[in-house]
Amino acid sequence: MVSKAASDAPSQAPQPSGSGAEAASGPGSGSGKYLTSSVAGAAKILVVGPLGVGKTTLIGTVSEIKPLSTEAVMTQAGARVDTVVAGGKTTTTVALDFGRITIDGDLVLYLFGTPGQQRFLPAWRDLAKGALGALALVDTRDLEASFDALGNLEDLGLPFAVAVNVFPGSPEHGPDELRAALDLLPDTPVVACDARDPASSVRALIALVSHLIHVATETS
């Protein structure tokens, strides 16, 4: 991860621009470090699911930048103590990977990979604020591992689509069977996807955004 090395060292001295692993390319280049200067706004989608389900793979497959990793500091009573901040609250950190897609000249879409476990819910609330929706990745070899993530999405009221990341040897489930096992609402889209394949991953995002449009037109 690009940021890992840097996070282990104190940043005592200012680093000259572009000294990192990723060279800064000039504004105007869509695939460089910086966004095109015409971009006026940003939107975000969460990619959620249990450890190892392929969140980072999917983000890396569709992102125009190498996925970046950052640490969300979360405050949680009773969490394993990492550092104690002013005020005596205990905090732990959770690594979040993210990528971006410049949609057109003035809009950029960020994809944030978010771990599913219930205990990371506090970290979610912040991230979910303002998110368009979420793509929930599911591994059919371990459906139960996805329950927390799906439950969190429902608690937050964030609309989502389910993408089944097809691994070699994944058991074949019919859509109805899967829907029942995951206790999904009838209108929640379920799509199969190969997180390593750009077109397949983009199609999963398209299924989600189509669903969001459907939800938005229904409620307006």
């Binding site: 890992k4 104190p10 940043s11 504004p27 303002g130 199609r203």
Partner: protein, 120 residues
Amino acid sequence: MTEPRPEEPTASAVRPYVITRGRAASDIESLAWESLVMATDAAFPASLQPEHQTILAHCQGLLSVAEVAAHIGQPPSVVQVLLCDLLEWGLIVTRPPVPPAEHTDVTMLRKVLHGLESRL
């Protein structure tokens, strides 16, 4: 590509609350992770804290708060506080995320849809 290890605690030699002088992102009107920021042309004082200077060095073009945090290896919660300082001093400008009212804006969602479809 490997999955991150979310449970692994990471530690910086300088504790985050030292860098922010005890301030937390929740104390201020904080920038969202996807808020876009960019350094202005204004000259900054030589006395500027090294962390602020590091951020400015990484903001020579338009980037999200999350990207700035990842590039400098500090948690976004710390970067949010420092960016608010820079904003107050006129050293960065920000482009806010799409306003909440527009989240269900079908026009915006259609734009995202078309943008994605054009990548197929």
